[in-house]
């Protein structure tokens, strides 16, 4: 499974969401994006953004003071 890791440390919301959004645009359905963040707001914002735009949230967790959110791309039928 293709997984792209994006470093969103020190970025405050909504910048991590924007980074995920940009990454999603260039990836095919089924690819995954792992965002590594330090703003706890991403645990609500990235899942909300994914739900709204039809992408699949794989996981959202805290690990060693960082927040990891994984999203699977689904562009749907346009």
């Amino acid at each position: 499974m293709k997984r792209k890791i994006i470093d969103c440390r020190r970025l405050l919301c909504p910048m991590p969401v924007i980074r995920v959004q940009t990454a999603v645009e260039s990836l095919p359905d089924g690819a995954q994006i792992e965002a590594i963040c330090t703003d706890p707001g991403v645990l609500t914002d990235i899942p909300a953004w994914s739900r709204i735009n039809g992408h699949k949230l794989i996981e959202a967790r805290e690990e060693d003071g960082e927040y990891i959110v994984v999203v699977e791309v689904d562009h749907g039928k346009q």
Binding site: C13, P14, M15, D39, G41, T44, D45, A48, I52, N53
Partner: protein, 347 residues
């Protein structure tokens, strides 16, 4: 079959943009939201900084609005381009450093670029005539439409019946009779419409959608420009204006002193960019120093920071000064007393 028409809605996260988009959906228009991130938006950040704010369940209101509507939301980073709006607003500032009219024009012009690239038909906003003293007046409505270049592709569903017909109305994509004629500062019509659509728990920002409407914030931004002798800012500058106590003991430097643990953690992230002070002998804040400082300035800064430590009533407090290369130096100082801190230092 008639073509399904598509509108891009400017979504700030407040009630008006929520309603405007919903009114369009009622008429069978496909709506997607655009939310512009200027760097000054109230959404986001602050909750990440202050520990006490973290406990509150927070949400990004623009995302929340999109979810209520069941529409896609595109968050667009306009931080760089937006600087010209804040630094040189053609139509000036509002009560504080909020360039609302220029801001609206700019956002609609960006939305226009967006709809052209995505093959959407028109733009909607939640503007209401007379709602805001600076940017939402009868005279400013055509200014936004003209200067943004959107002209009659800009429809304001909540007050359209008080305005000239737009293209979507003329072409019959939307029915003008089902649009609204709200005007004035009253929020009652919006609240009634929200109740009709079953929306609850929506955000109603008092001043506006960004920090530039905040008096305290604007004072700090103006101070920054004055001190640098240049109206400029970087992302880090405008983030730091939201955090801590800001004191300027001399024109050439200021201190940003954390007020609690969350702010201390946030400021720690900047310790490689700014010289800083921490207390050693007593628990106390972290303070960043913005400006070029002499040994005497550092001593004064240390005495000031000691004032905000738990050693404030002691004869002596030990602090560590660290420059941006990481060189450390210990300082033993007597904390300043409240009467030794002129009011003008506090920004």
């Amino acid at each position: 079959m008639t073509k399904q028409r598509k509108a891009a809605a400017l979504i700030s996260g407040g009630l008006d943009s929520l309603l405007a988009a919903r009114v369009m959906q009622e008429q069978g228009i496909h709506v997607e939201g655009i939310n512009f991130y200027t760097g000054f938006c109230v959404e986001g950040h602050t909750h990440a900084i202050r520990k006490k704010d973290r406990q509150k369940e927070k949400r990004n209101n623009a995302l929340w609005v999109a979810e209520q509507l069941g529409i896609k939301l595109h968050i667009v980073d306009i931080v760089e381009d937006y600087k010209q709006v804040v630094l040189n607003p053609k139509h000036g500032y509002g009560a504080n450093l909020n360039p609302c009219l220029d801001c609206k024009i700019f956002m609609v012009s960006k939305a226009l670029e967006w709809i052209k690239s995505k093959d959407f038909d028109f733009i909607i906003t939640g503007e209401v005539i007379g709602q805001r003293p600076m940017s939402q007046r009868k005279e400013t409505m055509p200014v936004v439409a003209d200067e943004s270049g959107a002209e009659d592709l800009l429809l304001r569903p909540l007050c359209a019946r008080n305005l000239p017909e737009t293209l979507p109305e003329r072409e019959g994509w939307v029915d003008r009779q089902q649009l609204h004629d709200f005007s004035g500062r009253s929020r009652k019509p919006q609240m009634a419409l929200a109740a009709k659509f079953g929306f609850e728990d929506y955000a109603q920002p008092a001043g506006g959608c960004c920090f530039l409407t905040d008096a305290q914030y604007s004072v700090k931004l103006a101070d920054l420009w004055r001190a640098r002798g240049d109206k400029q800012y970087e992302m880090d500058d405008i983030m730091l204006l939201k955090v801590g106590r800001h004191l300027r003991p001399a024109p050439h430097f200021k201190l940003i002193i954390s007020r609690e643990e969350g702010e201390g953690n946030f400021l720690r992230g900047y310790r490689h960019q700014y010289p800083h002070l921490t207390t050693v002998s007593h628990p106390g804040p972290l303070a960043l120093i913005d400006g070029d400082v002499s040994a005497a300035d550092i001593e004064l800064a240390a005495r000031l920071v000691a004032r905000y430590s738990q050693g404030r009533s002691e004869e002596e407090v030990v602090l560590a000064f660290t420059d941006i290369e990481g060189h450390q130096q210990a300082l033993k100082v007597r904390p300043l007393q409240p009467h030794e801190i002129p009011r003008e230092w506090v920004i």
